[in-house]
Symmetry: C2
């Protein structure tokens, strides 16, 4: 490795500082994981303070001018090293992170961190009381803080651009819109066409399934997919997530519903998709800022690829379904593979994003994306948000929330984050997943047949080799072009959806 | 509260700095708790690094000269405030901690931290291989680091004094010896006398007890003792411990053996005793260095008081035993309360400290204490340690280890800490527990009768009022004198043991 052959002491200093910050961040992640899994209720208040303290510390350490000077001093060195080398990548990526971080004053960061705790608590109360009014003033502050945050990055074309860039580096409102608009134009009539067809029967999924057995089977599935349980574990939580404390400790959480088979199963595969990405990062990146996913969108693409393109495919269940039947003989013994495949792919315009199928899902995202932009632009007042939300659902999906819990209060994102940049990654993820899988199958047409025989070995190796191992060395755009040979387009996704659902619904889309 | 009436900005600055350090330490505790409960094996390496990073950070922050200057500036102020006030106590206790911390160079701290990880791993391997030789070089380094650490505090009378003071402030080899020597002189013949009696029958405890039911019952017991599960929780681990992340998040861990009823039950009560102390600290001390136990010895005294003086008393089981029988009818239905009481108090000179009864336990401790001193004094070479260990066991307890796992490798202490100061707290705890409980019962003679009726309310309130709420405001010596009216003596403990075991063994001790 070139790091050892040219041990520039400044590089070592940089690395030491970054490892320290990485370790503080790992502790923050653990404080969060524990809060969401095992923490007794009494711990909440001090936990909020502890996380805020460590966040401030990490931000202080990272925006230390000495670190900026080290990056400056290493500029020439980095330019002379091969682009994908550890050193050049580390310096390049850290510089981008640093330039972004130093623009935001510590006071604003602290304000945001404090406000988010309050907003989250208000959101929980508002959901219980089914009352948007409870969060309205908090959301107003969130909006103002989001605008203030964006204004730390002058020169943007759209005020949401810096917020989007934070999650999906290199993307802007312009580039996202150029993908989302044509996508919506195609999806809305597709959903209408499917809705006009005979609905698929998914009643088999709503029987009584032992939660313990569900969790056990799900864990068995992701073990088969390559999730390494010696370097990870699964715990129960309210809102499933993946988190990591090091490349060798990547954890997922899930929830399980006794009367709905899909929840635990697919949220487990989804989070395992995120985890496979993190577990697949080259161990030489451990402890550095390069040990992570390239962007929220690319991360989401791997969750979606495993959950939907693999986990909801006919071939996948060819092998796994008899095993699932073995666990739930009484409930599924007489349900065929094809019937099960149809059930888990039923399309229904619905109110809740997290329950949405592959076809309608992106419409949920675009509603949120557009509303975020309107709020940031000052064209939509917070007080008018519930109304605007419901109207868009009526228009795009033909359904109307009866309470705000089914509407604007359903997602936690605006209450634990900022307004802007919070949702586009989901749809970008779907698009990226389709484009990558298209390439994979083109490159190795044996892969789908291997999956039918119960093995994803070749697929996982391909993804590790071409994407996972690199961590953050390359940007999402670079990776997509390297891997697929073109920039991101909506075509593979639309082709995938059309092909799959024409077959499922036996109709022309 | 006086803090708000006289908001000296320097005091606020001090408090802010201390809260930050407290929060870093809470994160370290969580990193440790997770490592001992849920962490997948792959996480070990990075976890070691993360804990070392945060420890270094906490030490750096605490030894910052700015903090020292604040303490200096607040010296006069503290002197003019009432001794037990929050401000005066905080300044006083922090100054003692600070003066101690700044004496130890960061480089030595880092060296110790790194070495401890290596030594711990070597210990685990040595136990597996049943070979002391594997840890011998590590223990040699530990000894040298311990001596180096002690030498940061010149002017000591005995080289172990600074190490003892670290755990049990105010105690020295001299004061400990003045308690331990007469204690040993009385205990050795007592053990001999008991060994000559007809042994008690404890075979009832070695049946098949469902681990799940054991854990459930144990948790029920400590709930009745006042352990607040909204502000705590219990998890399984290899070596039980108590840890806290805030006053409102105090956790315990336990282990359970299917064929030995005592383990889970009494280790749970023991750790709950530690936890009751921490949960009982006044909430205004949260986040400050005052929110903790006064010393290791006092902390241990509360674990021992609840585990032994209450948990192994006849009165306690008067109420709890029928409930335990209800859970294990098949195993205990025909065993009387008195038979059970005898079983859980059987005295047997044995090889393993953690399995020892109340009478022999302190002999195990004194062996370790004396060996620590001999090593530090240079009178006992590490290579001769196993031999010396075995010889002392033969002499004091009449038993000889057949392997080092039963001998010198049994305790983790020297492999995760230093040599010196690691063991005296256990016996001090037993002595303090007896002296305090003696006072409590003298003060409120109704308490034992309340316990027979299944309530510890008055006992817990008394302890909270007189000890727990103060946290570290007073030293252990101050508390013992305030509470019992005299300094620590061995008499109450000897009286307790003699009285209890004369009755149990029906012989003169």
């Amino acid at each position: 490795m070139s790091a050892s052959s040219s041990p520039n002491p400044k590089f070592t200093q940089l690395l030491d500082r970054l490892t320290e910050i990485n370790d503080i961040k790992a502790a923050i992640s653990l404080l969060y994981w524990d809060q969401a899994t095992y923490m007794p209720p009494g711990g909440a208040q001090a936990r909020g303070r502890q996380m805020a303290t460590l966040r401030r510390l990490a931000h202080e350490k990272f925006t230390d001018p000495v670190l900026g000077q080290l990056l400056e001093d290493l500029r020439t060195e980095a330019a002379n090293l091969p682009y994908p080398s550890l050193e050049a990548s580390l310096i390049r990526v850290t510089r981008r992170d640093y330039d972004r971080a130093v623009r935001v004053p510590s006071t604003l960061m602290a304000q945001i961190s404090q406000h988010q705790s309050a907003a989250y608590n208000a959101w929980a109360k508002a959901r219980e009381a089914e009352s948007f009014a409870i969060v309205q003033p908090y959301l107003q502050t969130t909006l103002e803080l989001s605008q203030e945050y964006a204004d730390c990055f002058p020169g943007y074309e759209h005020i949401a651009d810096p917020l989007i860039d934070q999650q999906d580096e290199g993307m802007t409102v312009g580039t996202v819109r150029s993908l989302f608009e044509p996508l919506r134009q195609q999806l809305v009539p597709m959903v209408e066409a499917i809705t006009a067809c005979t609905p698929l029967n998914d009643s088999y999924l709503y029987q009584n399934f032992s939660p313990k057995e569900q969790l056990k089977f799900s864990l068995g599935v992701i073990h088969c997919l390559g999730y390494d349980l010696k370097r990870g574990r699964q715990d129960k939580t309210l809102h499933p997530f993946m988190t990591k404390f090091s490349i060798d400790d990547v954890r997922i959480t899930t929830r399980v519903y006794e009367h709905h088979l899909e929840q635990a199963l697919f949220s487990t595969i989804h989070e395992a998709g995120h985890a496979l990405y993190e577990q697949g990062i080259n161990s030489e990146l451990e402890g550095t800022p390069l040990a992570g996913g390239a962007s929220s969108g690319l991360h989401e693409s791997q969750a979606r690829l495993w959950e939907n393109m693999i986990g909801r495919s006919r071939g996948f269940w060819e092998w796994f379904y008899p095993r699932l039947q073995g666990v739930f003989m009484r409930q599924l013994g007489q349900v065929t593979t094809q019937q099960f495949y149809q059930a888990i792919n039923k399309v229904t315009p619905s109110l809740i994003r997290t329950d949405a199928d592959e076809v309608t899902y992106n419409l949920h995202i675009m509603i949120r994306f557009d509303l975020e932009l309107a709020m940031l632009e000052g064209k939509l007042a917070i007080s008018d948000l519930p109304e605007a939300w419901n109207e868009r659902y009526r228009k795009d999906l033909g359904v109307i929330p009866t309470t705000d819990v089914e509407g604007v209060l359903q997602d936690v994102h605006w209450y634990i984050g900022l307004i802007g940049g919070m949702f586009q990654s989901y749809t970008l993820g779907n698009l990226i997943a389709a484009q990558i899988y298209d390439t994979v199958v083109h490159f190795d047409p044996e892969i789908p047949f291997e999956i039918e025989r119960g093995s994803v070995k070749r697929l996982l190796e391909w993804l590790q080799q071409n994407i996972y191992q690199h961590g953050r060395k390359f940007t999402t755009q670079e990776l997509i072009e390297q891997v697929t040979g073109s920039s991101l387009t909506i075509d593979p996704f639309l082709h995938y959806i059309r092909h799959k659902y024409e077959y499922l619904y036996q109709c022309k889309l």
